[in-house]
Symmetry: C2
Subunit: 98 residues, 2 copies
């Protein structure tokens, strides 16, 4: 499997309504992008200080399936609507997993 | 399940020998900390520019199991030997997963 991990810190002013809409939009993506095998996202649980605000871990069968997802029009539309302009910091990485 | 996600960017000068030793040390932790359910880590695959250098995704049955791991002497010894002083940036988050 090939894993994509991403975390965001939101800009000041991003509110809970926007984050709930983002979560709904993320839940939709696996229904329209079959390349996604597993997709688990959510806000920070508040256990530790200094954390990022929102995380997504997504698994794909192959790196090519990840690239299908990355460049998919539905994913790009999600980014344009829910991510662009809202992010103070982003951390991302892809790696193979057993 | 309760998930811990963390990514690091290494300082200049952290070399492949150090990263290989870190990977071996990470592989050992699930053998000495039974609270760990799944533990998958590795360096960035190089697919995208601007990524972090190394990621770990760890799952636990409960938030309390995560805290056992976080504060476990074997984990703290790992951090002291392989992380402290080597990290230019760190991104972390914990969240519940289905």
């Amino acid at each position: 499997m090939f894993r994509h991990v991403v975390m965001f810190k939101w800009n000041d002013g991003v509110d809970s309504t926007q984050i709930e809409a983002l979560a709904v939009a993320l839940d939709r993506l696996p229904t329209v992008i079959p390349a996604i095998r597993t997709y688990a996202h959510g806000p920070d649980a508040g256990v530790n200080a200094g954390n990022f605000d929102y995380a997504l871990v997504a698994d794909f069968a192959t790196v090519d399936d990840y690239l299908v997802y990355r460049d998919h029009p539905e994913h790009q539309a999600f980014l344009a609507e829910h991510i662009v302009g809202r992010v103070a910091a982003r951390a991302a990485l892809q790696y193979p997993v057993a």
